[in-house]
């Protein structure tokens, strides 16, 4: 478990509060919007058909999931929650360094490979259900959605799983492992910090 048991207990107690749902909704939507910004660029550049179709599909899915998150979340009416969420999102997007993939078109190189590593990590590590106590029921529509989101992410990441192995770029296995490890660590840290921030009630640096 990436968080301590007391953090998990605390999250279990507050997960369905409107403020918490709002923070989680903003967190996920913010990341998905940034990912959609990267993916949408694929629409405007030449790319091998198989790769294009996978990334095009992921763009559609990200947009769809943003819409679903907006509908399923019980939004807070507290302005401070949004101010806080905006600050968190700005920091997360900086730490995840989406800017690296927005500046220039993709080429079949280490840059594209690194983006795929980041996208894999986003699908693999933004999992709220494992950080909840086992006795928290998942029938509530918000939790049921978070759970199904993990399943959808599992299906989406199949593209990254295949591409990270087979993308024809001149990287050794060790370099590939290092790159995906770095991106994985980046996402895990952002997620861990966000969960801590949710449960401590304070600003976590």
């Amino acid at each position: 478990m990436i968080v301590e048991p007391q953090t998990s207990e605390r999250l279990g107690r507050i997960i369905l509060e409107r403020e918490t749902q709002t923070r989680i909704g903003c967190f996920l939507i913010g990341i998905k919007q940034a990912n959609a910004a990267v993916l949408s660029r694929v629409e405007f550049q030449p790319m091998p058909w198989a790769l294009f179709s996978l990334l095009h599909g992921q763009l559609c899915r990200e947009i769809e999931l943003i819409g679903l998150l907006q509908r399923v979340t019980e939004w807070s009416v507290n302005p401070a929650v949004y101010a806080r969420a905006a600050w968190t999102n700005a920091r997360n997007l900086g730490d995840l360094q989406f800017i690296r993939f927005l500046a220039a078109p993709f080429a079949m190189d280490a840059g594209l490979y690194r983006y795929l590593g980041l996208a894999h990590a986003l699908y693999a590590h933004l999992r709220f259900i494992p950080v909840l106590p086992l006795d928290v029921p998942l029938e509530h529509r918000f939790l049921a959605f978070l759970r199904s989101l993990e399943t959808i992410h599992g299906r989406e990441m199949q593209a990254q799983i295949a591409l990270l192995r087979k993308l024809p770029v001149s990287l050794s296995s060790r370099e590939r492992e290092r790159i995906v490890g770095e991106e994985s660590q980046r996402v895990r840290e952002v997620f861990r910090r966000f969960v801590m921030e949710l449960t401590t009630g304070g600003w976590t640096f």
Partner: protein, 337 residues
């Protein structure tokens, strides 16, 4: 809970028992984690063993590399862990995926263990296991982790166990779901799929070996255990009655007794290791522990020889002859009146 860095990956482990005691290492099944040996650890510590449980690379709370690695990497990681913790020639006991890892460890490090327990294990993917693996992998990739968990529920446990434990199963599944990551499970499964058969290397295992197989194990069926029994010279195959694939979870008392008996005999230099097949007593407390097998252990049912046996009651031949007899009797009665 402790971690050891092996090749830049953190491996989570727990070590219990006195330092000078005989070491025993448990190796998890595919979707398992170290805590599932919870019933075993205190019992073996009590019996004078030093017990190591750990999450393999890609499991539980150990690191889960994104890119796949080969099957032998698990055995090598285990070897590093064993050496780093100063465990001298442990007994190694593995179930299912972990059973195969334990077998690879015994092949790659023949001097690195004093006894081996291979439970629900395999040394090759035969026709059925290959199809099972491929379908499970497709289900995992296309549907998700819960599909794999639910499928295993049906094949790991008996109906009675599933019915008796219906209340506890949701929490068990949830814990498994939380501890596992889909991509890591896919990597583990792929490593198995890409591992060529190593049955021809089994004679290289020279240590005493206890092979255990559930009576109704339809994942790693009896034939795969027969290959192990025939290939490992100092082995014995023991069939666990009424058990499915995950008998370590369903019948811990019996499994503990079998392991304890095996290790005790090895330590006393009394392990027969005669490549025979036995059935474990259904009662974990009763004697004798091993019962002889009647009939062919590779068959699920023993048919009587064809010739000289009456057909079954509903057999068409029998029905026809019964009708004939009835008609004859009626006819006789008519004649009499």
């Amino acid at each position: 809970m402790a971690f050891l860095n092996v090749d830049d990956h953190m491996i989570r482990y727990e070590l219990a028992g006195e330092k000078n005691h005989v070491p025993l290492v448990f190796v998890n099944g595919l979707t398992q984690a170290a805590h599932l040996w919870g019933a075993y650890v205190p019992r073996f510590v009590e019996r004078g063993y030093r017990v190591l449980t750990f999450d393999m690379l890609g499991q539980g709370e150990s690191d889960k590399p994104v890119l796949p690695s080969d099957f032998d990497r698990q055995a090598r990681t285990m070897a590093v862990l064993i050496e780093a913790l100063g465990l001298d020639r442990p007994f190694v006991a593995g179930i299912s995926f972990g059973g195969a890892v334990a077998l690879r460890y015994a092949i790659l490090y023949p001097e690195g263990l004093r006894g081996l327990a291979a439970m629900g294990a395999f040394s090759e993917l035969d026709g059925r296991l290959k199809w099972i693996g491929e379908n499970l992998f497709t289900g995992l990739a296309a549907v998700g982790t819960e599909y794999l968990q639910n499928w295993f529920m049906a094949f790991n446990f008996s109906s009675r166990w599933l019915e008796d434990n219906a209340g506890a199963i949701p929490a068990m599944r949830r814990r498994g779901y939380s501890l596992n990551d889909q991509y890591a499970l896919q990597n583990l499964m792929e490593a198995v799929a890409n591992c060529p058969s190593f049955s021809h290397e089994l004679p290289g295992i020279r240590v005493p070996t206890l092979i255990m197989n559930g009576e109704y194990d339809y994942i790693t069926h009896r034939g795969l255990h027969e290959i192990l029994r025939a290939g490992i010279t100092r082995s014995r195959l023991v069939i666990i009655q009424n058990a499915c694939h995950a008998f370590t979870l369903e019948q811990p008392d019996l499994t503990i007794r079998l392991l304890d008996d095996f290790m005790g005999k090895v330590l006393a230099d009394e392990w027969p290791g005669d490549q025979t097949t036995w059935v474990a007593n259904d009662d974990p407390q009763a004697d004798p522990l091993y019962l002889p097998v009647l009939g062919d252990p590779l068959r699920a049912i023993q048919a009587a020889p064809v010739s000289g046996n009456p057909p079954a009651p509903d057999h068409p031949k029998r029905k026809a002859s019964a009708r004939k007899r009835k008609t004859t009797r009626r006819g006789s009665a008519g004649e009499g009146t």
